[in-house]
């Protein structure tokens, strides 16, 4: 027991890093994903195709590769080449990657709303923007809660990938102690931490689903 308290400090520090990556990615990737989805379903053919290509690229290559690219290779790319410190590099990679996944969730949500809703809004005089904001997206929120729940739980676990940039997230902190003390206890504690985080998320989403259950489609 004493041992657990002893290793709690570094593991909590690691958890703080994990949570930072998680929260920042969520806050940045959700709006970006929504914007991408709106372009994707719009009638601007060229822009829509471009977004499709982007989504294909981001979902078709490993997140770890993207992160390594942004950290190590981006500085050498002409024009846009910048050298990012490890934390911003991780956030940029996670945001760009998760925005693609969120965009697909938003897109399928938007496209699952029937044509009749657009037509009803239109004959009432709502513009396309008003229709999206007032009629379509509020219904989309309800429909995408289950896949969003999945995706955010995956995100919590994916944060452990930042170890390749030598950042001390929860998993890397645990591994460090394991290698130092020759005991697997830190892994068990780390697993418990991950489970608590995903449990909180699961509850949060269940609460949201319940709140949206006041109406049926």
């Amino acid at each position: 027991m004493d041992y657990i308290f002893q290793i709690l400090g570094p593991l909590l520090d690691g958890t703080a890093v994990t949570l930072q990556v998680f929260l920042l990615t969520l806050v940045l990737a959700v709006p970006l994903g929504l914007a991408l989805a709106l372009v994707r379903v719009s009638h601007f053919r060229a822009a829509s195709t471009l977004v499709s290509g982007y989504i294909w690229l981001m979902r078709g290559t490993p997140l770890m590769l993207q992160m390594l690219f942004i950290y190590f290779a981006l500085p050498f790319v002409p024009v846009i080449g910048v050298r990012l410190p490890d934390f911003p590099a991780a956030i940029v990679a996670f945001t760009l990657n998760y925005a693609a996944y969120f965009a697909e969730i938003f897109r399928s949500g938007i496209q699952s709303v029937g044509r009749g809703q657009y037509e009803a809004a239109r004959v009432l005089g709502l513009s396309y923007g008003q229709t999206m904001r007032r009629i379509i997206l509020p219904q989309v929120v309800k429909r995408i809660l289950p896949p969003m729940s999945n995706e955010t739980i995956t995100l919590v676990k994916d944060t452990s990938l930042i170890y390749v940039l030598a950042m001390n997230d929860l998993l890397r902190a645990a591994r460090g102690i394991v290698q130092r003390d020759f005991t697997t206890m830190p892994f068990v504690v780390a697993a418990a931490f991950y489970l608590i985080m995903t449990l909180v998320l699961t509850w949060g989403f269940l609460y949201l689903e319940k709140r949206h259950a006041v109406y049926e489609d």
Binding site: G116, L124, G125, Y215
Partner: protein, 250 residues
């Protein structure tokens, strides 16, 4: 109120409207009847720009929505203006298309607030009056999924009326309803007609067409075959196709 001249419309090379013309005057209640696939819905949807016509002219209350020049090029007025012009028409769909995430009251006040910029306080009395009129005041806070088909359709009518349209378009408003629920919707529509609302109603309800409408339009294969006062149309259809259709319906 509505002047439609020689409307043409194709879907994937198939001509669905083959030059449809119709004038609708103030207070007219026009029933559009005809076999399935004859283009009734398409005609209605072209009038309020849910579909775009390939050729022809549409003017709503004297304002041009679409026109075709001598070279045969059909042009619409700019989108914002088209939306303003089309706001003079309310529309009721066969499938109701209520907003499921909003209560009955929210459905009704949404467009006046969002489109007209009215305050909630300003529209509330009007919304409640409309709900009373369609007999659903006690359902104001219910979600659409809790309503029967007939109730949904009456909400849809109230929602359209909340925008104070001059013309109401109905596309088979009772076709999705169980027979015992059509009466309440037809009663609401009849009441509207008695208040001299200008109405264009696509319907299979021959009794409604005969008793309520001022004129009946018979469409078949993308054309208006006959347009006559309601009484005449039913007692003395001129065209053989009209006669054949009416014999099947009555």
């Amino acid at each position: 109120m509505i002047a439609a001249r020689d409307l043409r419309k194709q879907f994937h090379g198939v001509e669905v409207l083959k030059g449809v013309s119709l004038d609708i005057g103030k207070g007219d209640v026009i029933a559009v009847i005809g076999p399935s696939g004859s283009g009734k819905s398409t005609f209605l949807r072209c009038l309020n720009h849910l579909e775009t016509i390939d050729a022809g002219d549409i003017a709503i209350e004297g304002e041009t929505l679409a026109s075709t020049d001598a070279a045969g090029v059909c042009r619409y007025v700019p989108e914002a203006e088209a939306r303003r012009i089309c706001r003079k028409m309310g529309m009721v769909f066969q499938q109701f298309n209520l907003f499921p995430h909003m209560t009955v009251l929210q459905n009704i006040i949404e467009a006046p607030i969002t489109v007209k910029g009215m305050s909630r306080d300003a529209i509330l009395p009007k919304a409640e009056e409309l709900l009373r009129k369609v007999g659903l005041l006690e359902k104001r806070d219910a979600y659409p999924s809790r309503l029967s088909g007939g109730q949904k359709q009456r909400v849809a009518i109230a929602r359209a009326l909340a925008m104070e349209p001059d013309i109401m378009l109905f596309d088979e408003p009772t076709s999705a309803l169980d027979p015992e629920l059509t009466g309440e919707v037809l009663r609401t529509m009849r009441q509207l007609a008695e208040e001299h609302m200008t109405m264009l109603v696509v319907t299979h309800e021959m009794n409604f067409a005969r008793d309520v409408s001022t004129a009946v339009v018979f469409m078949d294969q993308g054309e208006i075959i006959e347009a006559r006062p309601a009484g005449e149309m039913f007692s003395d259809p001129r065209h053989p196709r009209t006669r054949c259709f009416l014999e099947h319906m009555l």
